[in-house]
Amino acid sequence: MNEISVVLKNEVEEIERLSEIVNEFGSEHNLSEEFVYAVNLALDEILTNTISYGYLDKEAHEITVTLRVQGNELAAEVIDDARAFDPLSAPKADVNLPLEQRNVGGLGIHLARTLMDEMTYRREQDKNVLIMKKRIAS
């Protein structure tokens, strides 16, 4: 199966459940441990952000994550109905600052952007649609 979709609730506990699905998808496609870690971390950082800050009400929401292998690339797509947030517009974390000046804000998105090769965002029908791609080394 080259594609798998999973619907998550807007709870951080769901991220670990997703990681098990990602791990399984990774082994089905012979993806390396490091590759799978990168995908898990990128998804985690994006989802943690959305779940923690994206919702202005206290209602239950659905987040749909789709993993897809196309050619030599893995695409991870996240669709949610949280308030509009474009991770690409977030201020960049400066990872070269010394310890005393380091601020962890923005670090999660920096990690996601560094670990994935490509990230595209669009707002569509009141939903955030984020697609992250990573090349599979042959």
Binding site: I15, S19, E34, L99, R102, V104, G108
Partner: protein, 113 residues
């Protein structure tokens, strides 16, 4: 995540197992900051059984090492798996702590120094 805390010489040693992420980092933050406040000046984190860390976990390490520096203490890490080491590198965190390959190495080169 499971944690166990022991005292080895003049250091507090925490062994972590599982995932240090947005779900587990808060409890660990309290535990670690308490140890920093009341415990010895050296803290060693054994990551050899830690499978995963996210920025939520990195944040706790940053807070703890800053708190330790205020009392002129020091924190070191050991046993990072390659995936974790990669995260430390791209987060710019590898420069903040001495990183040892194993608990044995950290014990002789950090704890007993």
């Amino acid at each position: 995540m499971e944690t166990s805390q022991t005292q080895v010489g003049n250091a507090s040693v925490f062994a972590l197992k599982g995932r240090l992420d947005s779900k587990t980092s808060e409890a660990f933050e309290q535990q670690l900051l308490e140890a920093v406040k009341t415990g010895p000046q050296k803290v060693l984190l054994d990551f050899s059984q830690l499978d995963y860390i996210s920025s939520a976990g990195l944040r706790v390490l940053l807070l703890a090492t800053r708190a330790l520096q205020e009392k002129e203490g020091k924190m070191a890490l050991c046993g990072l798996k390659p995936g974790l080491k990669n995260v430390f590198d791209i987060a710019g965190f590898s420069q903040f702590f001495p990183l040892y390959a194993s608990l044995e190495e950290a014990t002789t080169q950090f704890v007993k120094q």
